[in-house]
């Protein structure tokens, strides 16, 4: 501003402020915004809670721990099927209650202690056994993934046996989940409750440092038992504000950015960036209250499925970061997904017909919408678009909006007496989890489940119970496919979207892939 030069004193003011800036050591030379080669800097969405895999629950924390630790098994790259990792092979008893794992020989933890059957036993006892001397290093919120485990026994140094209290088909897939990653017993004994800040595993990267709210740094593990990592180090930076994360990516402060806001994707279309997408085991749906009110009638529930323009939701509101969902099981569970099912088409006329048939024209609906939350995508714009679609066919929808934790407190105990519909989204690791917890009669909220809309169909109950104890994958697949067809017809939910996880990398990053499990595996990534 030329005004500044008008008086001697304002000149002095300008000089003083310049001097202040200069005094702080600021030099206006362009910053070398280049990150060093061989070091991958990942923009994360939050500070991790802990780096103890048994204690963490958030995707954000999983992205770090999966690179430092390994489990007995893992999801094979590009799939949600289980393959050997620290266990070379395993046997399942005929009745499905005993799993015996043969461990890989010569594996050591980053602290030099050997990985063996004792270590496996220590891990599961620590999580599951309240009398274990290191159970107090928890709490372990997801320990119930292994609640079927009755005992873990050391058969010999490299053989370990799990005994389950009943057959439980998702057991292997739960072992591949981050909660099943194995930690060094010696490090837990040495650090106690602070193990989460001094993590030791067997993975391709080992822990280097954690500067609170700045970065978690992991380095290549030179003694890794598999193929060496492609980078010298990976730095995870917590950047909670999405706009700031985008700005960091644009200015070259980070090499990889996860969970790019849909509206920011267009910034990265040009050269110099690479956008990666991967559909995962996520489903976004509306719970319909099948116990009372208009949605007690199946025709009205189907009408809602016809009335909502899901194509518009995923393409306009979510800018193509999701696909239209056909049923309760996401297609990422390729082996269990019924690909003969087509999504309910957008057909407002059909919806009006069904409403007329059911005599439910003008039905008033209370619709719970959340402001945000894990996997909820863009819940407010989605909620208002859904409201408009439903009103267009003759419903009268009233939205009530809640902050996420409050929302869960309202929805999880059940919608009875409060609402007719609610938004919800789940990310799971096994096709059993969501329908078993949210679609069975025995999963009504008062019985400890998440069936907040009180859907009940004895046929579905039976299929899900059978699939859970079947140990043959083909048999399970057939049961899940049949379940999906019935549930789609019964329409206890409006099936809306399956989210595609996305990430952006600079063109200096190679071999970067996203997995259907949503876990961020970085060992093969190369940074030039």
């Amino acid at each position: 501003m030329s005004l500044i030069s008008l008086t001697r004193r304002s000149l002095f003011a300008a000089a003083a402020s310049t001097a202040l800036v200069a005094g702080l050591g600021f030099s206006p030379a362009p910053l070398a915004a280049q990150t060093p080669p061989g070091v991958l800097i990942v923009g994360q969405i939050a500070e991790p809670k802990s780096l103890d895999p048994a204690a963490v629950t958030a995707q954000n924390d999983f992205r770090i721990v999966v690179n430092m630790y390994e489990g007995l098994v893992r999801y094979a790259p590009g799939t949600l099927e289980v393959e050997p990792l620290l266990a070379e092979s395993w046997e399942v008893s005929d009745d499905g209650t005993e799993y015996t794992f043969m461990l890989k020989e010569g594996v050591t933890f980053h602290d030099g202690t050997p990985f063996n059957a004792e270590a496996v036993k220590f891990n599961f006892d620590r999580m599951l056994n309240e009398d274990h001397p290191f159970h107090n290093t928890g709490p372990f919120p997801l320990a119930f993934f292994f609640s079927a485990v009755q005992s873990t026994d050391v058969v010999d140094d490299l053989t370990v046996k799990f005994t389950l209290n009943e057959p439980y088909a998702p057991f292997l897939s739960n072992l591949a989940y981050p909660t099943g990653l194995l930690v060094s017993p010696a490090a837990v004994e040495a650090n106690g409750a602070d193990f989460g800040r001094n993590p030791v595993g067997t993975g391709p990267f080992k822990f280097a440092e954690w500067r609170s709210n700045e970065a978690v740094v992991v380095e290549k593990n030179p003694d890794y038992h598999g193929d060496m990592a492609g980078t010298e180090a990976v730095v995870f930076r917590p950047i909670t504000d999405a706009n700031t994360r985008v700005a960091e990516m644009l200015s070259g402060g980070i090499d990889v950015m996860v969970e790019v806001p849909p509206t920011a994707l267009s910034e990265f279309q040009g050269d110099g960036y690479q956008v990666v997408e991967q559909a995962g085991p996520h489903v976004w749906f509306l719970i319909l209250n099948a116990k009372e009110g208009p949605f007690a009638d199946k025709l009205v529930r189907q009408a809602a499925n016809y009335a909502i323009n899901k194509e518009a939701l995923v393409n306009e509101v979510l800018e193509g970061t999701a696909e239209v969902a056909a049923g309760p099981t996401p297609p990422a569970f390729a082996w269990a997904y019924n690909d003969e099912l087509d999504p309910y088409p957008y057909d407002p006329d059909k919806a009006k017909e069904l409403l007329a048939e059911a005599g439910a024209e003008g039905a008033e609906l209370t619709f719970y919408v959340t402001e945000g939350g894990s996997g909820m995508l863009d819940p407010i714009p989605m909620g208002t678009a859904i409201q408009a679609d439903l009103n267009a066919v003759g419903f009268d929808v009233k939205i009530e909006t809640y902050e996420w934790n409050t929302f869960l407190g309202e929805v999880n105990p059940g919608l009875e007496g409060k609402a007719d519909m609610a938004e919800m989204a789940w990310m799971t690791n096994d096709p059993d989890t969501l329908p078993f917890l949210a679609l069975r009669t025995e999963a009504f909220p008062d019985q400890g489940g998440f069936n907040s809309g009180y859907y009940s169909n004895p046929e579905v109950d039976e299929l899900l119970s059978k699939a859970r104890v079947a140990t043959d994958q083909d048999e399970r697949a057939a049961l899940y496919k049949e379940m999906q067809a019935i549930v789609q017809e019964d329409a206890p939910w409006v099936f809306v979207a399956n989210w595609k996880q996305n990430a952006v990398t600079t063109d200096r990053v190679e071999n970067f892939n996203l997995e259907p499990s949503f876990l961020l595996l970085l060992e093969d990534v190369v940074k030039n």
């Binding site: 402020s17 930076r237 869960l408």
Partner: protein, 315 residues
């Protein structure tokens, strides 16, 4: 003076106790508990109950309050659920970052604000006065987080002069110039509103003083204009400027919440926002009590400074 300070310190105790009660009750009353926040989709009533028990939240409210208060008096603020580390360690580390940011912003707004105010008052209705008033008005009206985002866009993304966010460079940083580079944008963004307020109030305080007899006397005796302004008038005006500085110091401290989020500054404001969203009771409670204690302390300092400057205020 010693007894005055002591009296003020003693009177701060009920204030702080009241704050502990209020923050504890608010955290107990807001819907959603930490277990639900941690478990997310897996928050079955059974899991929630077990986790709340593991976290020690199954005891009655009154018992929990006194356990918390008692522990805090012995210096134990408890352990954060969401960060899995002692609350006090986290607060001290984060408060340090906030102090650097808010302290720099405070210096900037005090120096620039008073300077602008003095210049405006000296050239009342002149061009410089009008120009400063105009700029100040804009400064007061623009929300600091918006200004922050625009600064990032211009200086970091387009011009690439400054880093976007954080406190130190991830690699090869950690020294003073590195800190300064990261500090420039957030400190200025944070200082803008306070600068405006201080400028306006300094201007009116100066105008009032400049009309008084002793200024005319000084001028009549041939004292140079600069000496009149900065030696005589500003010194007298400081009595009414200092309380404003005290208020603005608090303002800058609380305003840093937005700025810390936009610039990802690892300070206490961002910590509190994250902690509230995660229902991290002990971290929120400990953080609020700590910040409130600092606030009370600053206020006492301002009062003491004022009574030192103006003996009439002494109680």
């Amino acid at each position: 003076m010693g007894s005055y300070i002591l009296k003020r310190l003693v009177s701060a105790i009920p204030v702080l106790l009241g704050i502990t009660v209020i923050v504890f009750l608010i955290m107990a009353m807001i819907p959603g508990d930490p277990a639900t926040a941690i478990l997310g989709s897996y928050a079955t009533p059974e899991n929630v109950e077990k986790l709340n028990r593991d976290l020690g939240l199954d005891k009655p409210l009154v018992v929990r309050y006194f356990i918390w208060l008692g522990n805090m008096l012995t210096g134990d603020f408890g352990r954060s659920f969401s960060l899995n580390r002692p609350v006090l360690d986290e607060i001290l580390e984060r408060f340090n970052a906030t102090l650097i940011l808010a302290g720099t912003a405070f210096v900037i707004c005090s120096v620039l604000g008073i300077l602008a105010g003095v210049i405006s008052a000296a050239k009342q209705y002149g061009f410089a006065d009008k120009a400063i008033t105009f700029v100040v008005l804009i400064g007061i009206s623009v929300p600091s987080f918006f200004l922050g985002m625009m600064m990032i866009l211009l200086f970091a993304v387009n011009l690439r002069w400054l880093p976007v966010s954080g406190m130190y460079a991830i690699y090869g940083g950690g020294d003073l110039p590195d800190l300064a580079k990261h500090l420039v944008m957030p400190a200025f963004a944070l200082a803008v509103v306070a600068t405006g307020v201080i400028a306006r109030l300094s201007r009116s305080a100066m105008l009032e003083v400049l009309r008084q007899d002793f200024i005319r006397t000084a001028r009549a005796k041939g004292v140079g204009e600069r000496k009149v302004l900065y030696g005589h008038a500003l010194r007298a005006a400081m009595v009414s400027i200092i309380p404003v500085l005290g208020i603005q110091a608090g303002f800058v401290l609380s305003g840093s919440v937005f700025i810390e989020i936009v610039f990802q500054w690892p300070g206490v404001g961002r910590m509190l926002v994250d902690a509230i969203l995660k229902r991290d009771l002990l971290l929120v409670q400990g953080g609020v009590v700590f910040v409130a204690a600092c606030y009370v302390f600053f206020n006492i300092c301002v009062d003491v400074a004022q009574s030192l400057l103006d003996p009439r205020i002494k109680t």
